[in-house]
Amino acid sequence: MATLLAIGTAKGLFLATSTDDRRSWEITGPHFPMTGVYAVAVDTRRSTPRLLAGMTSSHFGPSVATSDDLGASWDEPDQAPVAFPADTGVSLGRVWQLMPAGPDEPDVIWAGTEPSALFKSTDGGRSFELVRSLWDHPHRPQWEAGFGGQAVHTVLPHPRDPARLLVAMSTGGVYRSEDAGASWAPGNTGIRAYFMPDEWPEFGQCVHKVARDAGNPERLYAQNHHGVYRSDDDGRTWSSIADGLPSDFGFPMVAHPGRGGVVWTFPLVADGERFPTDHRCRVFRSTDAGGKWEPLSVGLPEGPFYPAVLRDAMCADDATPGGVYFGTRSGSVFASRDEGDSWSTVAAHLPDVLCVRAAEV
């Protein structure tokens, strides 16, 4: 069994493979050089794992490619895999998220995009169709763009109920569907939007990332644009779990894929001071669903540390014990094979790391 770590950067995709239980890594790349790889997925539901990469060339536009041989070769369809229908009058900026659906829908892949929209593939990510119900939502004209652009950056299928789906966007917040995407309702009650006149709006929040608990799929964790929250009712309402963290600002939020209540994040000082807290490279972990947090830094750089970690640049693998990974805007990638207790460097001096995903393959 090998572990594959896919590293999407501002100038291409790097693939790190470990065959010694994540002690050492061999790296290939860049695949798709000079493209920003904002989304990558490792779909392990198939007999042969499929890699999906969403890349954007600043000159030649966005696309999605797939690989069924762990990145040795890639296939990109002739027709644009993700494209807005003509009547929308808009064009795809980039794919921000590629998310395999639950085990009951092995050919379904969801894509979150900029501008904010959700697309669905029923052929394993070869072609996608716009989810009209979200695009036509009456709130859409009021969704705004953050600094990174207006995007659906999070798509969370429900592991046991294919009818239930959650998306998050910046700005706009969380939207939920209980009818397989036919209709959508905002799910932001309790999430503060300090940057709006009404700080507790129905929608308009700048949610940075949402993760679903492994033990209790009704339980979700959110890193907000200031604010760290938990929901125990599948995203209907939220309450703060920021106490115990050095800051409530940051971008990633990762839940352990196999152990309930375990979650990791990487706090930054504040919106106006986007450096790691105390200028130190530290991951924070909770093992009680956000009740308490502990800093993790064994094996991480000890000196002053300034790079941020972007919303999709942290992930967990599906091994036992769980592996955790994160990449920085300075091109370093770190891995833990013991759920964050200790870390080692996978790569350094890569382009800015935009996303990471890992799985046993």
Binding site: S58, H59, F60, G61, D78
Partner: protein, 91 residues
């Protein structure tokens, strides 16, 4: 017949060719539309799904930047040379 000159980064989408011959004439749009039939992936590198030129792709018709001469409606005569060039962009 119109000759379309391709930059290095796009030649892989045309089987390695640096130039393509297109029979359509009249407008730049007609030339690009015909090229899209045989080379759809090349076409979507140049134009988005609305059919508009991508922001950082420049197309010259007989040496004139189409953005200053009618855009996709720029006249293209038989024997013309259409050159596709990535603009100076990126970090």
């Amino acid at each position: 017949m119109v000759t379309v000159l391709l930059p290095g980064p796009l030649r892989g989408e045309a089987g390695g060719a640096s130039r393509l011959n297109v029979t359509a004439t009249g407008t730049l749009r007609a030339v690009l539309d015909e090229m899209a039939v045989a080379h759809p992936r090349l076409a979507r590198r140049i134009r988005d799904e609305r059919g508009e030129l991508r922001r950082y792709v420049n197309v010259f018709v007989d040496g004139e930047d189409c953005r200053h001469s009618g855009g996709l409606e720029t006249p293209v005569k038989d024997g013309a040379e259409v050159q596709v060039l990535p603009s100076v962009a990126g970090g």
